[in-house]
Amino acid sequence: MDKLKKLTKMKLFLPVFCMFLVLCVNMIYDASTGKPFYSFFQVGITNGLLSGRLVNILNRGSEVAILAIGMTLVVSASAGTDISVGSVMALCAAVCCRLLAGAAAPKATELAVPLIVGVLAAIGMGCICGAFNGGLVAYLGIQPMVATLILWTAARAIGLLVCDNLIVYVRNDTFGMIGGFVGFFPTPIIIAAVCILVVSIVLKKSAMGMYVQSVGINKSASRIAGLNSKRMIFICYLLCGVCAAIAGVVAASRITSADSNNIGLNLELDAILAVAIGGNSLGGGKFNLAGSIIGAYTIQAITTTMYNMGVSSAVAPVFKAVVVIIIVAIQAPPVKAFFRKRSAKRASLKSGKEAAAA
């Protein structure tokens, strides 16, 4: 009993619990359709490539997971969200593909410049977008939602401009590898893992985590204590832009083209949701990166589960919304307080009975 209580108090309890619920639904569904209940976890090699539902979720969830990193920092430091990440993904993808395609655009099979140049250009573009957002929020004091609304509308359009209103294809194996496989292993999983690892190490080995949270909790007090609050907020938006760029390149490589109208569409919402499901307050301050990451994969798991159950892609968002409402509601303070009170009452009743018995 005591152990259970301790467990439920842990920061990561809720996101992990949500993930667990989704897994359970999968297992029950599988069992009811006559498949072995563990088929969710089955990992195999099909056509020389790693396959299975779990692998699929980790693979497909990479973009949201990468976005969630940046979003977590932005939410923590500025108590606001960066709603431009989806569009910035599209823009960075466009920049990358356009460079890689070179003169052969819009349909290239050879890389016009080395792959790394394209990727770095995309990341550079991400930096510019992040700096633009960060500048508006940190130095001009514009509401994050409003400031990032600008690129939310503009970035995708700029992406189209970059590609002359066309879908630029780069049907090249080297480029395709980023969103595909190295050997038998899905590359996006590796990229997401590296991003998560790098950021976690920086957070662990430097005082950045504390700085970001401190600024998010109390900007003026942090300034008096010697932190450069504005610069800190700026850096978070910058990193968020870089994350969007990486996610954009992965997304473009998956479809070996820069489709500015579709890449990253509505992904900013998934990223924000991931942060919320991860148990982070959207009001800023304390953050929990691991929670956001788990949240990101949970969202992907929900999507995959629904396709698996044959929910059509048109109605899928409805189910997704229902699931999200439930997950967010059980984390809401009044609901939490309700459960806490109930368990406290039960405990006091129990101790009362024991006292009476003694």
């Binding site: 080995k205 430097s206 005082a207 950045m208 504390m210 700085y211 949270q213 401190s214 909790i217 109390n218 003026s220 007090a221 942090s222 300034r223 008096i224 204590a225 010697g226 932190l227 450069n228 301050g285 304390k286």
Partner: protein, 506 residues
Amino acid sequence: MEDGVVLTMRGISMTFPGVKALDNVDFTLRKGEIHALMGENGAGKSTLIKCLTGINDFEAGEIHVDGVEGPVKNHSTSDAQKVGVSTVYQEVNLCPNLSVAENLYIGREPLTPMHTIDRRAMNRKAKELTERLKINVDVTQNLENYSLAIQQMIAIARAVDMECKVLILDEPTSSLDDSEVEKLFGMMRDLKAQGVGIIFVTHFLEQVYAVCDRITVLRNGQLVGEYPIAELPRVKLVAAMMGKDFDDLAEIKPEGFEAHADAPVVIDAKGLSHKGTIKPFDLVLHKGEVIGLTGLLGSGRSELARTIYGADKAQTGTLKVKGEEVKISHPIGAIHLGMGLLPDDRKAEGIIGDLSVRENIILALQARQGMFKQMSRAKQEELADKYIDILQIKTASKETPVSQLSGGNQQKVILARWLATDPDFLILDEPTRGIDVGTKTEIQKLIIQLAGEGKSIMFISSEIEEMLRTCNRMAVLRDGAKVGELDGDLTQERVMAAIAGGADNG
């Protein structure tokens, strides 16, 4: 309920994770009485009040309010207002981005016949109220444009304007100066004459003896006793609060703690100013010296200090630190030069509420070392433990969020933050705000000890006695300008005269 009693609290108990904040506490408030609730930092005063006003959910005990059937259990401040309990909390909790008038009438706005807010009536009533209480503000301005003291007065005005049987004032005078305190006492006496029961929490003992009729003392969450004021003279009150005898008025300045004119100059400011807050001033501070800044509220004491520190960027003049001319555009620049500033507004500029006590203590030191040179966890814990011990910070653990500490203990955490940076020049703006008598003396001793170690201190306090006890020299401010300095034999009379604008500005 007995005749003449407006409020009884019986057997109140309340536990926070790791702390028994209240243990079977009784409290009785009579009609037309001013009742002091006393105790050390963390004794449970604010917690008891929050149990009454519905912010804390106490686990045992009963509350009865005159005129209300059966035990009262409030669930929110508005519940409490309905049964006639009106409160000014320790931390000003108004909305800084609303106007003064809106803050005064939030939740009870005058309405037009269309049921929209009648702004004109609201502003007019607000103007009347502030004029009656002699608070000098423009009620249509946002609250954040005013100093902490004015904000505190607005919070008081809001509370006294509501029809109530019980008025609670939790350290309302902590940032007020003598004249404001007198104003407040005037209001309290009026309400008392109307039969309102007033609960008054303060760490200023003189104020207790100036207005109160009765004292209830708490220690470590337990009731020590309830006394009529005549039966509990100052020494006994201090003993009851601390659980031991203690002379808080003993002389603490060591012999020969005076002249420093030949010591090296640490701070040399010439013509420094910040538009709108402080006019150009000159100031010289020597090594090992404690200088006090004195003046009425709004005279520019804090602003002068902030301009030196770079919290407000100086627009004119030059600043030399240890002989070298410097330009400080950010507090971090000042920290690198060995400065530190303990700001007067603890909630807005001091604590980082959700961070732990440990993180709050190491924050400034970490900032000086830089983001990528993280202190080891062991070092952080060592520092936290050291200052929790030295300053007697009462906390469940060093990982407790600092917002869960009592007001006085939060103040100690911020003091610890600056002591941890081992500064050469430390600005303390109201460092003893909300701190209990025993610890106050400890902090005064600490200031003298730091000066003895060769540090220079700038000390700002609304309490003149406190400054007399610790300062070598005083700078006098009036209306946003430095108007003079006092040294030699500092006495209450000389300081008062200088503040008021007398001749002694030498």
